[in-house]
Symmetry: C2
Subunit: 158 residues, 2 copies
């Protein structure tokens, strides 16, 4: 089981956007995080399509959060970038083979699929309990409030 690396990039970008005062361009976000500009652009477009960020085209354009940081959950970011499909996909093994279960029995989900789904619900619930604001507060607690001031200063520099 593996999440795409873009998830990490996107989450960090959202934290940065939560601290910015205006739109932040892909170029700036990529430079700040030390990652590929062209590839990060793809992930930001996914956030945009998911409605988590708003984009401003043209010069001085860029991205900003569409909602307050306290209303953007980790789950939303993960699903925007990695997709919302469940990790386990039931291929209905029980309907194959010599002792295949009947169609009628299989209207109800197989027990394995149910257990897997329950685990994924627990995972999603946990992620839904963390917001971008929480993550930003964590950074402040860990490295001090001056960090985001320096970030804003760096973003303001041409």
């Amino acid at each position: 089981m593996k999440l795409t690396e873009g998830v990490e990039w996107a989450v960090h970008c959202c934290v940065v956007l939560s601290q910015a005062e205006g739109p932040v361009s892909t170029t700036r976000l990529a430079e700040f995080h030390g990652v590929s500009r062209t590839y990060l652009a793809k992930h930001l477009q996914q956030l945009s399509r998911a409605g988590l960020v708003r984009s401003t085209p043209g010069r001085d354009g860029g991205y900003e959060l569409t909602r307050p940081a306290a209303e953007v959950t980790l789950l939303e970011i993960v699903q925007a970038v990695d997709g919302a499909e469940s990790a386990f996909r039931c291929t209905e093994i029980r309907q194959r083979g010599p002792l295949a279960a009947s169609k009628e029995v299989c209207r109800k989900a197989c027990g394995v699929a149910q257990a897997m789904a329950a685990a994924e619900r627990a995972w999603r619930t946990s992620l839904a309990g963390v917001t971008v604001a929480d993550l930003a507060a964590g950074v402040t607690a860990d490295v001090g409030p001056a960090t985001f001031d320096r970030l804003r200063g760096w973003l303001a520099d041409a």
Copy 2:
């Protein structure tokens, strides 16, 4: 985020093994589930290496559970087949770029990684709460107790 398809095969195999009276061969398990024999063999070897099943070589050989079904959890099977690595891998983005965090600050895990780890713990806890015996009981409840009798009969047939 995606689990390999082998996970589904392996779980169903463990349920079958919990109902068998002796070793069940790869050939029989593959036939029963209607899946590729050679590929299923690989997954069964993973279960064997993880110590969840014991293998008997030679004619009349095959696999059997090493423990009572009530003591084999879904989590163990998933991790045996899919690996125990966490889905989210922190690449320490915060240590890159122009405002890179210092090494000292980074002895503590980044907040994003912590939140992701908590979610995966919730997922694992959920999976660890389901045993092969639970899954077998679910089958009995869903399709009736005769199902496993038919399975044992089929396994006994040459």
